[in-house]
Subunit: 218 residues, 2 copies
């Protein structure tokens, strides 16, 4: 069965998934790299950052890997994950990930300013679509060919899909830092845990605690 | 060396240590018992709640126990932990804990309305004092006779002592629930983790994740 998944989504102890002041120079705002350090040490993190050193093959790596093993057939992401500024497109920006992004699937970018798809190398095509979470999920499911659909972030997008009850698997990585400000993953989601079974595992190597939410019955 | 400690302090995934709407009937407001269920299953929890059943003797119990093993010689708590309403004292309320409270030490209750001490059974005396965190800590240290001083909560009080750099050990128990609203432990504490080494352990029995903050050099 095709599941809707949020994979390796990092939050601080106070629940922020990104800091304040996002820009092209600071995609996570004042949080800098702190939310993603543990991810950078995994194989996928090394690949994204062009790091040739061997990666630590512990629980962090295994959990990331389970989200990037070919089981995801389409991705949905928020406009601000693709490009940190609101409003009309004003740039020939092609995403953070270079000409061969790590998605290798159709990627549906939520925007109130739809435009032509952008075909990248390696099987990734960015589609710029407007619609409710349910509508865009239906498009993504069609494109996924029976595989899972990833909700790729940012936090506002993940929250929308959680609030709509559309997420089956949610992997939250709690990083032991206090950001103080930014965009919360949890805002407006009071009681969301009631729909899920939760398994937790801590990584002594990175200091991160992983919470694996699985929708009851999924 | 005498340390300043916060023991078994529960917070939700979104960082709230108590809910909204605290009252005598609902000491944790809309959070109900959810933040304290794991604690209730420990030996001390059973004792506080008058539960005679055997307690689970796992990591939850061990961590609670390490805060109540005679190593604490005085306690500081906020007015609203003792009595949930602001302003002048209007009641003969003697705390939540019965005539023999579990503290067995002097307890300094922070208040802008000082009044006479209240002597309980078992060695607990409540002192009602006004002052800065530094001033009240000096009083508590004097009373502790070389033992540790506990900052007992609530969250506003713990935050004050953390912000003042006065806490050596902080045991935070992250309960996997989203409260959505309440009083945050972390508000105003951006970057507080930089002063601490942090050890984390998860309890599969309760589902709670314990973070043990120890001040660098303490």
């Amino acid at each position: 069965m095709s599941l809707v998944r949020v994979t390796q989504f990092s939050v601080s102890l106070d629940g922020y998934a990104t800091g304040e002041g996002q820009s092209l120079e600071a995609p996570f705002g004042h949080a800098g790299h702190r939310l993603m350090e543990w991810f950078s040490a995994t194989r996928l993190g090394h690949q994204v950052h062009g790091d040739d050193a061997p990666a630590r093959r512990g629980v962090d790596d295994a959990l990331v890997s389970s989200g990037w093993d070919g089981s995801v057939g389409a991705e949905i992401m928020g406009r601000r994950k693709f490009w940190p500024y609101p409003g009309e497109w004003t740039d020939d920006w092609r995403g953070w990930w270079g000409e061969d992004p790590p998605f290798h699937t159709p990627v549906f970018v939520l925007t109130h300013h739809p435009r032509e798809p952008m075909e990248m190398e390696g099987g990734t095509t960015f589609h710029f679509v407007d619609g409710t979470p349910e509508q865009v999920l239906a498009q993504a499911r069609d494109a996924a060919g029976g595989l899972d659909v990833r909700i790729g972030g940012g936090p506002t997008t993940v929250r929308q899909f959680l609030a709509a009850g559309l997420v089956d698997l949610l992997h939250v990585a709690v990083v032991p830092i206090v950001l103080g400000r930014g965009v919360s993953l949890w805002e407006g989601l009071e009681g969301v845990e009631a729909d899920f079974d939760i398994e937790t595992v801590h990584s002594p190597t990175s200091g991160v605690t992983h919470l694996l939410f699985q929708r009851k019955g999924a």
